[in-house]
């Protein structure tokens, strides 16, 4: 028998139709079920249109609907559905028996990879095609189909499919374990934003002024979050607008790149790794130390909080040594857990000691770097030229200073530097003394947050008179009439609607007309200009009235109506404002007299007059 002739494949093939058909036939419940669920949407559309006989719908409505689905629904669905499809088509890699059959077949890895990838993508896209196709037919029947929008949405959906299936395939290639694959997928989708929050939180417990806020700096490493924040759909002038096509395109390309990397890994991957948590030896240290780090940062911190912070910690900030010990202990546990998973054995202790020592040393160094601020986060103050604007908030009062007010920005920076210079003083005093909240948020010229710091500052009378201290600089800043004005100035074109007074003592509330409100606003501006507003001096002397004035206004730019308001606590120094409130009848002379008596101050001169 001429074996070569009878058994030779006819030509080199990049896709095996038998395997493709087999994949689709084996996993039809998945894509068939998804298509069926998806088909409910056009069915609902059809029924509701038949019911209402809606004739007012236009192409823009259809376009807006498909854009919204592509931007806000498809990323979430694809995130979940991609891992299921990838788990199905790559499932043979996770069992020695199945990999033994598939890899013994007379096809090469290139053909296997392409065929399985096409199967997975087909399984992902069939439900979208079914849903979209039926929805288009319904829209066509009612005459509001926008083919351009449908094609644009279809392109976006394909790009989203590529990124999630690419990522899921990448996860399938780096592991040989069915359970590890979705875990890696979830991790890769969310680990970087989670890490930002986690590390920020640990910095917060060590360093003065640091607050764990999600800045989204690492969001681009989380496809699902970035797609959500980067894509949107809205209606403008009767036309539907889709925002974020470039974001989808970039992630689509990343998906293709991930499939390329996965192909290379598939060719390198050894069949015998079926069942292993990590498929490549060079990835094992990454897994071991990654798990150790994750354990140290999460469980280590948790252990510290339940054992040390609640019982032994003095002050508001974490103690270095107990935290380092907790992190080292949990890091070592994490290292052992990872080793056990890799070795598929509980007997890993004897051979793990070099790794354990590395973990302990690494965790202690990391913890030390955070506590002793090696990165200089605590002392970080932005450069004046980088600042577009800065918002300062002290005891609930916000001040916004723009880069044009170079003098005030410079004062803010000087104040911030003084605060950071006194970090140890604040750390020691914060827990035992009354503190005032002090926030700083710097923005760059594009309006993005540059730096955010929040402090609880102990305010000392003595230091307030000492030049160079943060209390002194804060007082100078807050007493600056320009700063006072910035607290109360409403934007240009603002229309004042009403003014009211909240009396905390009696719980009474009174409001007045638009004209009287205008007069009250002018009086507030006058007080601000003279430096009379409720401020640091009022807090310092405790001479504030138990009442606040509230002015409500709107800015209408023809498109949007923006609500504005001023809420000011009253103080005896605000003479012009008190006069205007008396004139408007929002407060009475008797009330003011009573407030003064409660404060033990001299009777207000206007009242006496």
């Amino acid at each position: 028998m001429n074996w070569e002739v009878s058994t030779m494949p006819s030509k080199r093939s990049f896709c095996n139709l038998t395997l493709l058909r087999k994949n689709l036939a084996r996993f039809w419940p998945l894509w068939g079920g998804a298509a069926l669920v998806g088909a409910l949407l056009p069915l609902w559309m059809l029924l509701s249109l038949s019911q209402s006989g809606a004739t007012h719908l236009v192409k823009a409505d259809f376009a807006y609907a498909v854009y919204t689905v592509a931007a806000k629904i498809v990323p979430a669905i694809s995130l979940c559905y991609a891992i299921l499809c990838a788990m199905m088509v790559w499932s043979y890699l996770f069992s020695p028996r199945s990999v033994g059959l598939i890899h013994a077949l007379p096809v090469d890895r290139t053909c296997l990879f392409i065929t399985n990838t096409l199967s997975g993508l087909a399984m992902m896209l069939i439900p979208y095609v079914t849903t979209g196709g039926l929805a288009c037919l319904v829209a066509l029947g009612w005459g509001f189909l926008d083919i351009g929008a449908a094609l644009e949405a279809a392109a976006v959906i394909i790009l989203i499919t590529l990124i999630f299936f690419g990522l899921a395939t990448f996860c399938a290639m780096i592991t040989g374990n069915t359970f590890a694959m979705p875990a890696f997928y979830l991790l890769l989708n969310f680990v970087f934003p989670a890490l930002e929050i986690l590390v920020g939180s640990i910095f917060q417990v060590f360093l003065v002024g640091i607050t764990s806020t999600y800045t989204g700096a690492l969001e681009c490493l989380s496809p699902v979050l970035k797609l959500y924040s980067g894509m949107n759909a809205y209606l403008e002038d009767g036309a539907a607008i889709f925002v974020g096509a470039p974001v989808a395109a970039i992630y689509g390309l990343v998906g293709i790149a991930l499939l390329g990397v996965s192909f290379l890994l598939y060719r390198l991957r050894r069949s015998e790794c079926a069942g292993d948590v990590v498929a490549f030896r060079w990835l094992r240290p990454v897994f071991r130390y990654g798990v150790a780090l994750a354990f140290a940062l999460t469980l280590g911190w948790f252990l510290y909080e339940i054992i040390w912070a609640s019982l032994f910690q003095r002050g508001n900030y974490a103690d270095f040594v107990p935290m380092a010990v907790c992190m080292a202990v949990t890091g070592v546990i994490g290292y052992y857990v990872a080793s056990m998973l890799l070795e598929k054995s509980l007997r890993v202790f004897r051979r793990s000691w070099p790794g354990v020592l590395t973990v302990c040393a690494g965790v202690v160094i990391l913890c030390g770097c955070m506590r002793f601020d090696v990165l200089g986060m605590e002392s970080r103050v932005p450069l004046q030229e980088d600042i577009g604007r800065v918002t300062v908030s002290f005891s609930g009062r916000d001040i916004t200073v723009y880069s044009g007010d170079a003098g005030i920005v410079s004062k803010v920076l000087e104040l911030h530097k003084a605060v950071t210079a006194d970090a140890d003083y604040i750390r020691n005093k914060e827990r035992y003394e009354t503190t005032s909240y002090f926030y700083l948020r710097y923005y760059d010229p594009d309006g993005d947050t540059l730096l955010y710091r929040s402090y609880r500052l102990p305010i000392s009378e003595e230091r307030m008179e000492t030049p160079g201290t943060y209390e002194y600089l804060l007082r100078q800043l807050l007493l600056d009439p320009q700063v006072m004005l910035s607290q109360v100035e409403l934007p240009q074109g603002c229309e004042i609607l009403e003014a009211s007074v909240d009396d905390y003592g009696t719980g009474s509330y009174a409001n007045c007309s638009e004209q009287e409100a205008q007069a009250i606003y002018q009086a507030i501006l006058q007080d601000a200009g003279e430096g009379n507003l409720y401020g640091i001096e009022t807090i310092r002397s405790g001479q504030g009235y138990p009442a606040a004035v509230h002015i409500r206004a709107i800015v209408d730019d023809g498109y949007d109506v923006d609500n504005q308001s001023i809420y000011l606590e009253l103080a005896p120094t605000m003479t012009h404002t008190i006069d205007a409130l008396l004139d408007a009848g929002l407060i009475t002379a008797e009330t003011v007299e009573q407030w003064n008596q409660e404060l033990g101050a001299e009777v207000y001169t206007t009242v006496a007059a």
């Binding site: 028998m1 074996w3 070569e4 009878s6 058994t7 030779m8 494949p9 006819s10 080199r12 095996n16 139709l17 038998t18 395997l19 058909r21 087999k22 084996r26 069992s95 020695p96 028996r97 199945s98 990999v99 033994g100 059959l101 890899h103 013994a104 077949l105 007379p106 096809v107 090469d108 890895r109 053909c111 050894r270 069949s271 015998e272």
Partner: protein, 299 residues
């Protein structure tokens, strides 16, 4: 011809194959034997193109088989644990195999329906272990491979079906020149069908030759010495094993039966008889030097 040259395969720190070399001549039935963990299944997975060698070569008809679809199309295998898709019937798996093996013989598939007497619509998962093995033979033999590679092939088959499948394979060998490489622990069965044997231990092939050569190269001598005192045998006589019952001594000696008997007669035995060894005995005594002898344990 299948040639494996100096094949090395390590799993972690453990060398499953440590320089194994095998030559399976075309048209032969080659029995691969060895103790558990010797590396037989690992070697077979290299020959079927599943594993990539760390070092060495696995050649089918002179070409590397790994990532070589043309050569893999010549090889069909039944592994020790045959894989089928969870809900697949025999017919489903037939369609699957047919899509990959260009020489898949549908006429043979139809004819085998009578041989194996299993419904092709039966879901394989629900069949007994023996019936699953029959299904594996059914489909694999329909692929009409040039090289049939079998790992513990008849485990789970009843005696009648064992004979039936061996008969089918032997007829393929005779009629089409199919080469069979079979790994098994059932040495009595292998002795009946194999013409070549390779003995593996600890990742190496200790010896391989035709069964007749093997049997000619080791002999069992039963000797009765004239006195209770056993004479000293020639130092260069390669005795693998000695045992005795009373004055009847049994020697397993490596070498040609005539030559070994002549050397032994120099020691003037009262009676000497040369007996052929079964494959099982050869296996046991050859591996005795590899610290794998049957231990006489008294509990």
């Amino acid at each position: 011809m299948i040639e494996v040259r100096e094949l090395v395969k390590r799993f972690g720190g453990f060398a499953a194959l440590d320089g194994a070399s095998v030559t399976v001549p075309e048209g032969s039935v080659y029995g691969l034997v060895g103790p558990n963990g010797a590396g037989k299944s690992t070697l077979i997975r290299h020959i079927t193109g599943v594993y990539r060698a760390d070092r060495g070569q696995v050649l089918v008809d002179g070409e590397n088989v790994y990532e070589n679809p043309e050569k893999k199309a010549l090889v069909a295998a039944i592994p020790d644990e045959w894989f089928y898709f969870p809900s697949a019937t025999i017919r489903d798996m037939m369609r699957f195999y047919r899509g990959f093996y260009p020489a898949f013989d549908m006429d043979r598939y139809e004819r085998f329906k009578e041989v194996f007497a299993i419904s092709e619509k039966a879901v394989i998962r629900r069949l007994s272990k023996g019936m699953q093995k029959q299904a594996a033979f059914w489909l694999t033999m329909c692929c009409r491979p040039k090289y049939l590679v079998l790992d513990e092939p008849v485990d789970g088959l009843d005696p009648v079906m064992r004979r039936q499948v061996w008969s089918l394979m032997m007829s393929d060998v005779a009629e089409y020149g199919t080469t069979v490489l079979v790994s098994s622990h059932n040495l009595r069965e292998l002795e009946d069908v194999c013409d070549h044997v390779g003995i593996m231990s600890r990742g190496k092939v200790l010896l391989e030759r035709s069964l007749s050569d093997l049997q000619e190269n080791i002999v069992k001598l039963q000797v009765v010495w004239p006195s209770a005192e056993v004479p000293v045998l020639p130092a260069d006589l390669p005795v693998l094993h000695t045992s005795h019952v009373g004055r009847v001594y049994t020697y397993i000696v490596r070498g040609n039966a005539g030559e070994v008997s002549r050397r032994m007669e120099e020691s003037r035995p009262m009676m000497l008889e040369a007996l052929p060894l079964s494959l099982e005995e050869i296996f046991i005594y050859e591996l005795g030097g590899e610290h794998y002898a049957v231990k006489e344990i008294v509990l």
